[in-house]
Amino acid sequence: MSIYVILEGVISFFLIAGGAFIFIGSLGMTHLRDFYMRLHGPTKATTMGIGCILTASMLYFGIIDSYPVIQEMLIALFLFITAPVSAHLLAKTGLHQQLRRVEKTRGEPAELRDEEVGKKPVPHHSDAGHD
């Protein structure tokens, strides 16, 4: 069995895995029920999928031209740096707009807490030891 057959199998595996991860990420973004859940799909699964597809392309053109390609490495580096930053900004925007959530979404950040007028403010966790 030639080495090229094995490499073709590896490239095919990376292609199908990347397509499946991208599809699962978009499916999660479509079918989950509130914004804080929907944020999980694209930020993790889609980044993994685009990494797999870029790896497949890198392998293919590296074998065809027999020298390493730069553009895919640049795209992968840039996407892996910017995906968490944009996810963080989107989460901050959702908390700022106080989007509604379902009961199962856990956690109680200060932006979403009900504030009752006339009561003492809820103490923050970091200054609980002072009083």
Binding site: G49, Q71, S86
Partner: protein
Amino acid sequence: MLDIALKISLALVLVAIVLNTYRLSVGPDMPDRILALDTMYVNSIALIVLMGLWLNTKTYFEAALLIAMLGFISTVAVCKYLLRGDIIE
């Protein structure tokens, strides 16, 4: 084998872009739409890379790099506008 894998992957990415379009059109709030656009540009980068594999050319990868940069900048700009009411303070 590579042809069949390429076709399956293209079909999956196309269905993913259709799902993103659904969320972009019906998304109940503004951050949902920004998230759909963000996912859509990542998926379009995948589509361009797969098209480069299909046509056996490396011409379109610079376009993919440009889409990556401009998509990130536009996401940050719209998020800052929704957060602060202003882009550059």
